[in-house]
């Protein structure tokens, strides 16, 4: 009981930070920008956060993080608008919402579908944030026991999870991680002071900022894909009827089983590095369909088909902040970008952050409650307005985003070289997207690369060059075993499913 009161005390301190006029103004701005980037197909939460990052250099870190996380929540909601009205996911995680959300819109129930999606999102986000509130301190305390070998083991676990669960082509994920790690080694070596991997280019001595890679590969790369297709959107016109919204909200408890199940799936997938909101929402939709007594209704406008993925999506996004803040291991691609932002402000995510910067941490956690509630209220009031933006030709919006990306890249270090690098990464990102190479693991590896190398070198010094150190302590032994399991379990499962189905066919 004391523990709960302690956490609530810390959280109320956080609310006094988050509720300042300035922080609330930036939260609102972040939500609005987030909904906008979420609504636009081809621009997602990670892009929105990456493009906004250079704009936050002049702000206090807590204000900046509140704005950027609010952008994340707004983007997830914006993605659902496009899914329901236009049958195109504005955000990758909003894909399953198209399956039943758009049929509902076609039946004239767009307002109901959006109200269902937004309110169940709020439930998912609240459960994810509650998990963060009550588990963060314990995990951070646990993290204080970590030494260099344990840290290297946990980075290995993060990379292994991405490879094991990242997608159908694990070798491409491995390549992406290695490129990210390779990019992180460019520039000044912090241990020896040597300049390395610059190939004589003076501009590379300062290293490659992860922001150039994110703005280039995710922002410009995605934009090139969208502009290449000459996207034209036609969707269902909707207006939000307050009576329908109210009626929908009071029916939400009817779906309590779907809500709890989806939130549990979301939280689990969010905490696990390498999975994230997209897998959570897909998985949750699958479960909802499998366990439904009215399975035939799925795909034709089933309300549970909207509630389940939306709850899981938001639970995953909010709970992804748990490993990000407590251990410095991002649970999703967007969380990786947020982690990079923290590092840029000189804040080292991990257990010590809870000790040295409690106002920052609890201010941010409190803002997640405020941000999600604000985002849902804003999106309920303004969904038709944001949907109208989709009727502006992308020929206007695309170039504006391109210019903002270029200015954002330039603003990082006021360097022209950075603009060229960003454009180069943009082309690289385009090819990655076209050929199904995942970008999130590359960004994660680039952000964690320095720390992974440092913990590896420190471990090597401790053991005098013996790799057995990673199997010495019980903790690192468990983490390394989990890494091996994360790497091989999906392959074994895939092959066993194949063998089982082959045997069934033979019988």
């Amino acid at each position: 009981m004391d523990f709960i009161f302690d956490q609530l005390g810390l959280l109320s301190g956080g609310f006094s930070v988050a509720l300042s006029g300035q922080n609330m103004a930036f939260l609102l701005f972040g939500v609005a920008i987030g909904i906008l980037v979420g609504v636009l197909p081809g621009l997602g939460a990670a892009n929105g956060v990456a493009i906004l990052l250079p704009l936050t250099f002049g702000l206090e870190p807590v204000t900046a993080m509140i704005m950027l996380t609010a952008t994340y929540w707004g983007a997830l909601l914006g993605g659902s608008i496009t899914s329901i009205l236009f049958n195109i996911p504005g955000e990758p995680a909003a894909l399953p919402t198209t399956f039943d959300g758009h049929p509902m819109a076609l039946q004239g129930k767009a307002s109901e579908a959006m109200a269902l999606a937004f309110t169940s999102s709020a439930v998912g986000a609240m459960i994810g944030t509650l998990l963060l509130t009550f588990a963060a301190s314990s995990i951070a305390d646990f993290g204080l026991r970590f030494g260099a070998p344990e840290y290297f083991a946990i980075y290995t676990l993060a990379f292994a999870s991405f490879i094991g669960m990242g997608g159908p082509e694990p070798i491409k994920t491995l390549i992406a991680i290695m490129i990210g790690l390779g990019l992180s080694t460019i520039g000044l070596d912090t241990v020896s002071g040597d300049v390395r991997m610059t190939f004589g280019l003076l501009d590379l001595i300062k290293g490659i900022s992860f922001m150039l890679v994110v703005i280039g590969m995710i922002g410009i790369g995605e934009l090139l894909i969208t502009m290449e297709r000459n996207l034209e959107l036609r969707g269902v016109v909707a207006r939000m009827d307050p009576r329908v919204i109210f009626r929908t909200i009071i029916t939400l408890p009817r779906y309590w089983v779907a809500l709890i199940r989806s939130a549990a799936v979301g939280c689990w997938m969010g905490v696990l590095p390498g999975s994230g909101a997209t897998i959570a929402s897909m998985m949750s939709y699958g479960f909802a369909r499998r366990f439904s007594s009215n399975r035939e209704a799925f795909g034709k406008g089933a309300r549970e088909g909207v509630v389940s993925p939306e709850t899981a999506d938001h639970a995953a996004a909010t709970s992804a902040m748990l490993p990000t803040l407590t251990l410095g291991i991002p649970g999703s691609g967007t969380a990786a970008v947020l982690l990079g932002g923290l590092l840029m402000w000189g804040l080292q995510p991990g257990p010590m952050l809870f000790v040295s910067q409690p106002d920052f941490v609890w201010g941010l956690i409190a803002s997640m409650y405020l941000g999600n509630v604000t985002a849902v209220v804003v999106v309920l009031l303004s969904a038709p307005l944001f949907a109208a933006i989709l009727r502006i030709p992308f020929a206007y919006i695309g170039p504006v985003i391109l210019v903002v990306c270029m200015i954002g890249a330039f603003a990082i270090a006021m360097s022209l070289f950075d603009i060229y690098m960003t454009l180069l990464f943009g082309l690289f990102g385009y090819l990655f997207k076209k050929l199904d190479y995942p970008i999130a693991p590359l960004v994660l590896a680039l952000i964690l690369g320095d720390q992974a190398e440092e913990s590896f070198r420190q471990s090597m010094i401790l053991s005098n060059g013996g790799v057995g150190i990673f199997w010495d302590s019980t903790l690192s032994k468990i983490l390394m075993t989990c890494s091996v399991l994360a790497l091989v379990a999906p392959i074994i499962l895939k092959n066993s499913t194949r063998i089982t189905s082959r045997l069934r066919d033979q019988n």
Binding site: P54, I171, I175, G182, D194, R196, P399, L402, V403, G465
Partner: protein, 159 residues
Amino acid sequence: MLRLDFDVKRFGAELAFAFFLLLIGGAAVAGALQMNVGWKDDGPGAGFFPLLVGLVLCAACVVQIVLTLKHRRTLQTPIFDGEAVRNLSGIVVPTALCAAAITVAGIYLPAAFLLAYFVHRRTKRSPIEIAAIATAVPTALYLLFDVALEIKLPGGWLY
């Protein structure tokens, strides 16, 4: 207008990109070998970790090349065509020119020209509408960056 009638199959694109990444891996190994890759007084040398990363990258690329060759038959769908390349170069080339112009002309003027070019090329709006968009967006960006956020971007010929 230049006619570009061709299709690039997924197989060719996958193979070429994997070879390109193998080259990057090779460059990483070469770069690491210029440093100390052995053991120093303060632990592994500066080149040790990049060497490890470069070698794993090369090995992964070789596996990817083998997998691509193995699945050759299923990778025959077109992935790039002339239309896509023309659209893409229509975006990348003007953007690169704009980036080059920033050195002398500042950031806002080239951005205005880039916007005007794109809107004209893609929507064929009237010159007044194009001029309005090309002026409004950089002005809004100036107000946001230079005035509100006090991030001073180069004005070049403007100020």
